[in-house]
Amino acid sequence: MTTAALSPTMISKAALFEAQAVKTSARRNRLLSLPALIIIGIFGVLPLIIICVYSFLVAAPYGGVQWQFSTDAYLNFLFQRDIFDDTLQFTPDFLIIYLRSFLFAVVTTVICLLLGFPTAYFMATRPPAQRNWWVLLITIPFWSNLLVRTLAIMFIIRDEGLINNALIGLGVIDKPITMLYTNFAIQLGLLYAFLPFMVLPLYSSLEKLDFRLIEAAYDLYATRRQVLWRVIIPLSKPGIIAGCLLVFIPALGAYVTPLILGGGIHLMIGDLIAQQFGSGRNWPLGCAQALILMAAVLVALYFYVRNTSGKVQHG
């Protein structure tokens, strides 16, 4: 409407100016992106190449690699070479850890979504002045180190911890419930660590939601449930996708949480890979495991994004 008020000459001048601005800004943008590109090159692409190369080498006896091509690392992922007759035998140990990790990550993502959505909706429907306080509260855990917070969980759930002492003190139970070093402990730790990563993107997309649309849907005979499924969820899809990715990917590669709360008994992929570079002294295997994880995530991502974006279009 504003352009209609401008004279044609003004428009053409503006267009010319804009075209020039676009050209110079494109050149400037390339220059500005240089530092980022250098950082990504040195700390992102280069290590990835090294990992890729190492995964095809032979492990040296005391760590490191010998420069000799081998696909053993990938074979060892699924098979074990028999010491006596040199045949390959299928060993699903690593695969089980991968599947377990996927399960942990999926459960974490789903529960975070179920807990995070109402939380974010609550925050987004507060008066604007209040909302920032709620965001601040959500970010408080970030103020201290994840390791410290995980150790704190340990003190809460261990046999002589807060929960068990309280329950025994109240006479509810007479023997402590074992929670630490179980799958439950890992799951709890993951949920605790990643919930804010779900809430924040959900909040930012719900905050932008036009609540008059919800009124309009009510007016058009939609019940509360229908409003949720037909209007609120489709419109907050970008936040849901971002939140799920931000939770799922780091949860899959979680290292500290399962190490401390799982006590090294219940491994996840992150611990497994770390082992290869530490006590396992098998760098190529560690590299191969990392690359297999990456490939798995990329495949999962591909299907996830393809499915969800399709749903958005069908609305």
Binding site: L213, E215, A216, L220, Y221, Q226, R230
Partner: protein, 407 residues
Amino acid sequence: MGIAFENQVAAPQLPSRPAYGDNQTGTHLPERAGSLNGVIVPEQPGKNAIEVRGVRKVFGTGENQVAALDTVSVSIRENEFFTLLGPSGCGKTTLLRLIAGFDFPTAGEILLHRQDIAPLPPFKRPVNTVFQSYALFPHMTVAQNIGFGLEMLGKPKAEIEARVAQMLKLVKMEALKARRTSQISGGQQQRVALARALAPQPKVLLLDEPLSALDYKLRKEMQIELKRLQHETGITFIFVTHDQEEALTMSDRIAVMSAGKILQVGTPRDIYDRPAERFVADFIGETNFLPGTVVSKQAGVATVKFAGDATISAGYPEGFDPTGEVTLVVRPEHADLVPDPAKGTIAGTLANIVYFGTDTHYHVKLDGGGENFIVRHQNSRSSPVTFATGAKVGIQFEEDAARVLKD
């Protein structure tokens, strides 16, 4: 052309929706007099679609309490184009939201076909709204938006498609049905919003300043379009606006609101010619206010004396007893200029002449003092302009032009 809205597929009433009296609205198109441009509609004894009884709405608590609606009662008839007119903050949108069900009244009842709907949530009321912001769903196409209400009512797919096609035709949007709502213009969005609200065949359509976002020309077009749609569908329209011209041209009846109260309900002509209060006269159209003193009165006509010792007889509304100092109200077009000051009702000096194209306004400085009196003269090619600024003139009132009003 009423057929456009008739049921093509017999639609069973949903059990979840309360049955409201006879199901005539929508298919029944009464013979009705046109009411474009303020032509008086004969008072129909028709049934009331909406009855608002003693409704109060208070927002906030404690010291911050604000009564947005202060005990309002009004009846809106079936098939009527009813307008709630008033300045912003007068409570007109609050009343509309109470009828829609977005808010609930603090006290009083709202009847739809004699059934109290005040406690029902919006999705249980056969009432639809056209929002000021249109509130179209951005993740759906034009057709999906229009079909949304029917889909939520659980209508069969074939019926939804048929009705959506009908509605697209009704608002002339067939070509754009597959577009996203973000890909169409404001005027087109307006049409989609209308079609979406009309598609479920509501008993009453609520319109919350739907034309305020459109530019002048489009607004004029949509005013006529809205009138046409109301005529074709036979649905009761309740229209909220602060634009008095819009209210006068479109409405069958108007309720003028101020500060949470309804001041007057009547046809556009009633409201314009016989305003009940000074506020109504002031808010609708231009008006001259003259201070005066009541000398005598009988049978609804008062004789009023004002500065310069001129006297005039003026009508006053029922239930109002003017005494002492009063204000006289005269519409600018109900007065005329005469060259001889002695021949007019009051005399003055022509202070200013403002040309408006269709008419000319003469600002007269009265000999008795006070605000300038404005006389509006419709221009025609044959009428010569004979007055010049500074000339002494008389102002003549048409019969019944002056009225005494409550302040």
